[in-house]
Amino acid sequence: MRPQANRHHPPIVELIGVGRAYGSRVAVDDIHVALHPGELTFLVGPSGAGKTTLLKLINREIRPTAGEVWVAGLPAHRLKPSKVAEVRRKVGVVFQDFKLLPALTALENVAFALQASDLRVSRNEARERSLDALEAVGLHDRGSSFPNQLSGGQQQRVAIARAVVAQPPVLIADEPTGNLDQDTALEIMDLFEDIAAWGTAVLVATHNIEIVTRLQRRVVTLVDGRLVRDQPAGQTGRMAWLASS
């Protein structure tokens, strides 16, 4: 049974009239979108449409030049640099290139994120919870492996475990299957579905249309920095933007 988004709850992420320009080039413009707890949303669009910019705005890697970005009740659009970490603790992030710390084992990578978000977590607790997270992504026996000893799919799983171990209310993923084969990509997407089922709002930017059409989840389409379509789950139709990509 597919878990349903908690739409009767207030949105956990809300972008209101958001715009971001790099000099004279507009990356995203007048974006209005809300993500709810338990909702898995795909962010699609051609290259350069502004998908990564949108994710960076949510994680407060960049500030909007217009509009407001609210994440778990925090005004990411006007947070001081010293407070940015507060937003990032509410947002788990998964990258296409995994971005694991190469000198740390899989377990240490996961535990690091947990303790970075909460100093009150003891070493033993961090270890236990990290092992749980690795078990949840099917890597309980690879905790002592370093990233370079893992396959791409396994590294992405570690990255997902790292992103969710602190149980953030929001998870964003930027082309998480871009470096993976189709079977592994589907396994990763299964993980995202499960994470959404826990009540996390999951936003996945992807080019993988097969997965998008197969999972039939909410799809937000960006073209040239503008939100051109917001299709609810189960109503994923033709990907109009494909013609322009």
């Binding site: 990032r88 978000s117 977590v121 003891s122 919870r129 949840a136 969710v164 089922a197």
Partner: protein
Amino acid sequence: MAGVVVKGSFRPRGGVIRVVAANLLRSLFGNAARSWMRNLGSTAPALGSMTLLLLMTGLVGLTALALHNLEQEQAMQASLLHVYLRDGAPMAQVYDLWSRLEDDPRVGGVVFVSKDDALARAQHIPGLPDLANASESNPFPASLDVQVKRIGDVGAIDAMVRYDPIVDPVVPSSYDRGAYQRVQAVLFGLAIAGFAFVGLLGFVAVTVTMNSIKAAIHSRRDEIAIMQLVGAPRWMVRGPFVVEGAITGALAGVFAGAITFGLAMAGIAGASNSFTQFAPGVDTTVAVLAAVVVIGAGLALGSGSSVLSLRRHMES
């Protein structure tokens, strides 16, 4: 995987404060030490250049101290005016001049040195015993040794006493108008050169260290970016780098301090007599102090350079 839920947080059995303190220590020092060991290759240039610069700073510092002491010694000697008395000068007039000098506010003290005392003193000055023995009578005059408070007043005191009837008309005093000025000019020049050199050395030390540490940080920029992206607070990102810088600086300081101490002790032990003349005031205590200062400077240089480099890196 459905149904598998990552465990929620649970509070540790021990006190929260203890856990937070342990995490703080581990995040700052444990991770920094481990990371320092791992990145020794990229830190080595910074370590080498800092050691060299700190060693030079230590040696220049010791030289400056010796020069300062030499200057003080010279000033002390130059402000001691020997007023030579005519042979057979009546003691009543000597006491009169003595008390006039003591009453002068520019004078710190006056000591009477009899002819016998002068001879006895001369016995300890190289070369003079032969001169004393060559003469059947005592050739050394009695004198009033006047300690003038300010070196600039020595000339005025000399002018006041040099034509006194009880003062030797041929060699009235030890006052040599140009001698002290010449020494002072040389020492002043050395001091200026020393300050300029230390300033330049400091600038080079900070620049070289910053660049070396910047290179080390740059090589780990991905690591910093990842730490920031997973929500590590600023101190958790910067702290270990600053501690790493401090470790590098302290280690460079220890190396440089040990060499500085060793060289100073070798100088003291190997050439004790002549060394005293060339490096007055430099003894074991000063050598230890110099080593400690060099270690402290290394600590400050390493951590300070890391803070500056990190700030610039994170702003860019």
